[in-house]
């Protein structure tokens, strides 16, 4: 395995051991990255159940593919490639499920997939705040969730990687296996949609 400069020696050793089948080393890797992966999955799908499923699928894939990791990219970049792929796969699967269910429904129920996603229940996160803040915060979180769910998944992922998690255009492009220009273009479109969705709310 090549030694990627941003990976610590301890992590290289841990990955190497896990690749050799050391279950304890693999468990350590899971513990190290589970919150990161869950957090990212939640930011993308805004749903606790879907985020948990995505995280679980991601680590199953990591377990199966770990030997394919050669150390030529940061381990976190490689993990993000897997989790973003799972988010996109889940979205496609949901579309197929909805399509098969909608076959027997009357025409007026077949609205577009993005609108349907907004109608799904949004799970909120328990916060330790005062009751007075709670209403405002809940309303704001709901607005943010609804606005981001209007974005196509590809744009949503780019927005989260770039603007929320602060990753570079180059790393975002590498994670999604697209060109830097395509990543910038998706980010621009995502920002414009969110800006319009939230304009009323953020303008004093």
């Amino acid at each position: 395995m090549k030694h990627e400069p941003n990976i610590s020696n301890e992590e290289v050793e841990l990955i190497h051991k896990a690749q050799q089948g050391d279950q304890r080393a693999f468990t350590e890797l899971v513990k190290k990255y589970e919150s990161t992966i869950y957090s990212f999955a939640f930011k993308v799908c805004r749903d606790e159940e879907k985020a948990s499923e995505t995280m679980q699928d991601t680590f199953i894939n990591v377990f199966r593919k770990l030997k394919q990791y050669k150390g030529d990219a940061q381990f976190s970049t490689w993990l993000y490639q897997i989790v973003t792929n799972n988010c996109l796969m889940k979205r496609r699967k949901n579309k197929l499920d909805r399509h098969s269910v909608s076959l027997g429904l009357p025409d007026d129920s077949s609205s577009d997939s993005q609108s349907e996603e907004i109608l799904q229940p949004i799970h909120t996160i328990p916060l330790q705040i005062t009751p007075q803040d709670e209403v405002v915060n809940n309303e704001l979180r709901e607005r943010l969730d609804q606005a981001i769910l209007k974005l196509p998944m590809e744009q949503r992922i780019v927005f989260i990687l770039r603007d929320v998690e602060g990753r570079s255009s180059e790393e975002t492009a590498k994670i999604l296996k697209i060109s830097v220009a395509a990543a910038k273009s998706r980010l621009r479109r995502a920002r414009m949609v969110l800006q319009e969705q939230l304009r009323e709310y953020v303008t004093p």
Partner: protein, 93 residues
């Protein structure tokens, strides 16, 4: 009303370039033109502040906490997943 600045950039160009260069080099000739436009165009200036505030709100969104039961379930699922695959493979022979 939105203005056009023929010698510099129009508002549509500003929206495009501001989005692409929000966190990038602010000393390039293009960014200097953008800054100049923003100083004289209240609409574009407001757009930029709405965009910055929007991004800030998403950054401030509380970090979700992974429930303990989920942590336990991941390892169980991982340990059992390959075995399930093996069983499937045997069944399909």
């Amino acid at each position: 009303m939105r203005t056009k600045h023929p010698e510099t950039l129009c508002c549509r160009d500003i929206a495009k370039h501001v989005c692409e260069n929000l966190d990038e080099n602010i000393d390039s000739p293009l960014c200097r033109k953008i800054k100049k436009h923003l100083q004289t165009c209240p609409e574009c200036s407001e757009d930029l502040s709405v965009l910055k505030k929007t991004i800030e709100l998403y950054r401030e969104y509380p970090e979700p906490i992974l429930p303990a039961v989920r942590k336990k379930n991941i390892l169980t699922a991982i340990v059992h997943a390959p075995k399930n695959e093996q069983r499937k493979a045997i069944r399909h022979r």
